[in-house]
């Protein structure tokens, strides 16, 4: 999907707005300053890094996302009916108040996790794989490998989906990361051949926020952020430890709070997921 500035818009009540170049510059600058403030206040990496990555990616806008970027070199298809264990998704949803305070929303988050799981189950057939879910207790035992994967995912987001100047020359433009033997514990515990990891942070403008956005827009001020969705998903081969497929999303649309719309987020997250044969 060709990403252009038109896509980076926040519809207000369904209205589309197109950003002019000077608006873009202003928005980028606003995000850079905000990003720096965020980093300086040293917030948790769970949010800081993807948000920074999100901001980096904004500089990358306009590039066509090549199919091969998501897929590891040399990897083509998943065998049909292959067993994929779904690692517990790390999702959190926030509401942004009038003044910009992000408030965690338990009910939204719980709903989102449910919808995500349901959407995944529904998609099982079209993906052509057999999904199993890992429970929380088992996840406790796998905390080391989970922590390691999170670091790998950050590296991929930074050096493969970030600005091209930051790509690692030795990786030669390829998705070429592997956790090696260390993933065997997952295979032993679950019997699966692949593992699907995912992570989503999503924020939504509260009613009061949307109200102030409308007011400001009427006054000619544009670029106020409604909310954004950042996340990644990765598919890891449990026999080799290789990351076979990786996708990261960053956008200002998407809604995980309702089942139908959550399915759309999942579809976007699983863009270019390997075809099964």
């Amino acid at each position: 999907m060709r990403k252009t500035w038109v896509n980076y818009r926040r519809g207000l009540g369904g209205r589309d707005e197109e950003f002019s170049f000077s608006d873009r510059a202003r928005v980028v600058r606003w995000h850079v300053i905000r990003g720096m403030r965020i980093v300086r206040s040293c917030i948790g990496p769970a949010l800081a890094v993807p948000m920074i990555i999100a901001l980096i990616s904004m500089l990358n806008v306009g590039l066509v996302q090549a199919q091969s970027k998501n897929i590891a070199f040399g990897f083509t298809n998943l065998p049909k009916g292959t067993r994929v264990v779904v690692m517990p998704t790390d999702i959190e949803l926030f509401s942004i108040s009038g003044g910009g305070v992000a408030e965690p929303k338990a009910d939204w988050t719980e709903a989102a996790a449910r919808h995500f799981k349901a959407a995944l189950v529904k998609k099982q057939d079209s993906l052509g794989v057999q999904l199993s879910h890992l429970n929380d207790l088992d996840a406790d035992d796998l905390s080391d490998i989970n922590a390691l994967h999170a670091a790998v995912a950050r590296a991929i987001a930074l050096h493969h989906f970030g600005t091209s100047a930051f790509n690692l020359p030795t990786k030669d433009g390829k998705l070429d990361w592997s956790m090696g033997d260390s993933v065997k514990v997952i295979k032993e515990k679950t019997g699966a051949d692949y593992a699907l990891f995912s992570w989503v942070r999503d924020s939504y403008a509260s009613g009061e926020r949307v109200a102030s956005m409308v007011v400001l827009t009427l006054l000619g001020v544009r670029g106020m952020q409604g909310g954004s969705q950042a996340g990644y998903a990765s598919l890891v081969d449990l026999n080799t430890g290789a990351v076979l497929w990786f996708n990261r999303i960053l956008r200002r649309t998407g809604d995980l709070r309702e089942e139908g719309k959550a399915a759309e987020t999942l579809d976007t997250l699983l863009e270019n997921f390997p075809v099964t044969k």
């Binding site: 905000r34 403030r37 965020i38 206040s41 040293c42 917030i43 948790g44 769970a46 949010l47 959190e92 926030f94 942004i96 108040s97 009038g98 003044g99 910009g100 305070v101 992000a102 408030e103 965690p104 929303k105 338990a106 009910d107 988050t109 719980e110 929380d136 406790d140 905390s143 080391d144």
Partner: protein, 386 residues
């Protein structure tokens, strides 16, 4: 208490508590508020609660959590005695972080950092800090703070508030960004004192534990601790706090400190936590802390050894002399850590006192042949033979 703040308070729940605390100071049978039921997930409190649940999950699995069943139950018992009715809702986690802190999240997760465990001299002092944190919890200060921040449209507070309450290790940013108001801190002090007393502890230890910390922070050159240490940014001014706590303590005389039990329980961790303290590289603060500990327990070699290590590390003016004195005092107790002799050896070597250096190094290698730096020390000895 500031009357204007009293009237401006947004949440009525703590208004009632303040009023009853004023009574408590005169001994009018103040009661601990009832157990906090799990809030509706759709509410702001519910959102905060659920976020803390997820943080707790991460903490449970974290390599920074000290997983010692015995020590854990000991601390859990203390928290339970303090919290009374809130005991079933309280879950204690001991965290390996070399800073003075304890924190109770709105969902009942209580963190105690190893830096606090090192500094507390007895159970009562720990109880004072835990009681203070339980005070914030029963008065639901976190939610008040959230509502307060929201209503004041604090721009740029994105995630700062929640990501760090309960997050392991981000001490400075946590306390600095998500600070309870000074009003909250005063309430927590009073509730904490009340809980301490009810649980049978000597409330005079509350003033002591804060004073000790302040003294340590004041030792840092060129700093007003209330500016450099975020923990103090919103705490009441030291003198006022000490006075308030002492005055309140006078109304409830008596109570235990359980110092002997405390020392027994923390002894196995002392060396590790002291090594963490040295690693902080805050020489003046460490020296102040250790001097206080040495005065209190002169027969404990670990404190003498550690202060020597700090002097040796700072290496200013007469520090090497002070270090030698402390290493030798540690050695005189007869149960000094083997590294005491390494420390002496390194100073003698720097001063070109070859014979003394060799003797000390050889003693170290004798006591700890498998030490990580044994080969390095052996090479020093070989050098000195030529």
């Amino acid at each position: 208490m500031n009357r204007r703040r009293f009237l401006a308070c947004a949440s009525c729940a703590s208004l009632l508590q303040v009023a009853s605390l004023a009574q408590a100071a005169s001994g009018d049978g103040w009661q601990v508020p009832a157990r906090i039921p799990r809030p509706d997930t759709a509410s702001d409190e519910g959102g905060l609660w659920a976020l803390m649940d997820r943080e707790e999950q991460k903490l449970r699995r974290s390599p920074f959590r000290i997983q010692d069943q015995q020590l854990q139950s000991y601390l859990q018992d203390i928290a339970c005695r303090l919290g009374g009715e809130h005991c079933p809702d309280t879950r204690v986690y001991l965290v390996h972080t070399p800073l003075f802190n304890a924190n109770m999240a709105p969902n009942g997760m209580m963190q105690i950092w190893s830096g606090l465990m090192l500094r507390a001299d007895n159970e009562a002092q720990l109880a004072a800090v835990l009681g203070h944190e339980i005070g914030h919890y029963v008065a639901r200060h976190s939610v008040e703070r959230l509502r307060d921040i929201k209503s004041r449209s604090a721009v740029g507070q994105f995630m700062v508030l929640f990501g760090l309450v309960g997050a392991v290790g981000r001490f400075a940013t946590f306390a600095g960004s998500f600070a309870y108001s000074r009003y909250h801190e005063r309430i927590a002090d009073r509730i904490g004192l009340e809980l301490m007393s009810k649980a049978g502890y000597d409330p005079a230890e509350a003033a002591t534990v804060w004073e000790n910390l302040l003294m340590e922070l004041r030792a840092k050159p060129g700093g007003d601790p209330t500016k450099s240490n975020p923990l103090f940014a919103t705490h009441p001014p030291a003198e006022e706090r000490r006075e308030t706590l002492m005055r309140l303590a006078e109304t409830q005389p008596g109570g235990v400190t359980n110092e002997v039990t405390w020392q027994q329980k923390v002894a196995p961790y002392r060396r590790e936590w002291l090594a963490d303290e040295v690693r902080r590289g805050q020489h003046e603060e460490s020296i102040a802390l250790l001097t206080r500990k040495i005065m209190r327990s002169p027969q404990v070699s670990d404190y003498l050894f550690t202060r020597a290590e700090v002097y040796r590390s700072r290496a200013k003016n007469a520090d090497f002399d002070d270090a030698i004195r402390d290493y030798q005092a540690a050695s005189a107790t007869g149960n000094e850590p083997s590294e005491t002799h390494r420390g002496l050896g390194l100073i003698y070597r720097a001063r070109k006192q070859i014979a003394e250096a060799r003797a000390s190094f050889e003693r170290y290698l004798e006591l700890a042949p498998e030490a990580p730096d044994a080969l390095m020390i052996k090479s020093y000895v070989e050098e000195m033979k030529t």
